[in-house]
Symmetry: C2
Subunit: 114 residues, 2 copies
DNA sequence: TGACTATATCGCCATGCAAGAATATTCTGG
DNA sequence: CCAGAATATTCTTGCATGGCGATATAGTCA
């Protein structure tokens, strides 16, 4: 009878692919872009104004997000509008924020000895 | 009448905190540890055997995960057992895997012209 | 075509971090 | 206390990447 390996760990390549998705989210500027796009599609310049960083950097981070298949890209005239392609973006961020809020509340309870 | 800023972007510090959580997940070794712990708590040595990396590296990644408040730590004799503290770990990974699978399927459909 | 605007890319620097080797620490049994 | 096992830490190296300035590319309008 064949022994069934119990819960083997995924291959390095699979783990790497998953890790790469998370890596895209692991940067404040990119998270700011995603948040700014929640309201509506925005041009690169709009994002530059909202995010307090250089246009070059916004373009670069947009490319990272786009390559990760998280954004749509639409050219209108000489402007380019980006928008969210994957709604799961917000699901991920919501889960993390919930966790941070829970942790902050727990910390507060300890601190104030509630 | 005061103008309401529409969907302002969070402060850099807030975005940074969220980004740090994602960064913890952005590394194959750490994801492998989380996956290995899904079955049950495991000692450091068990994890070393499952993950094909050095003991020093496993300890280091465990510390990162522990500091991120994702793991429990329990000492038994001279062994230390780690286990998952936050079930949201699996929710996050499931969402990302779903996305990767959907993308892979979409790629296949294009490739094979289904 | 030429000027202007919007976006993308390139080269560079500084920082952060994964990983290994060596060592330190902690615990157990004798 | 000592030896050995299990785990943690320190130090170093190499690489990836965020950010900026400068520049290139693309699109619009006169």
């Amino acid at each position: 009878m064949q022994k069934i390996a119990e819960n083997p760990v995924s291959s390095r390549e699979t783990l790497q692919k998953i890790a790469e998705v998370f890596r895209v989210f692991s940067e404040p500027t990119r998270l700011g872009i995603l948040q700014a796009l929640r309201a509506r599609p925005r041009s690169v310049n709009e994002l530059v104004e909202l995010l307090d960083t250089s246009q070059a950097n916004v373009s670069k981070q947009l490319r990272t997000l786009f390559d990760a298949d998280l954004l749509h890209r639409e050219q209108r005239g000489n402007q380019v509008f980006y928008s969210i392609k994957e709604e799961m973006v917000y699901e991920l961020c919501r889960i993390v924020c919930d966790k941070l809020n829970r942790r902050a509340r727990a910390d507060a309870e300890v601190f104030f000895q509630i």
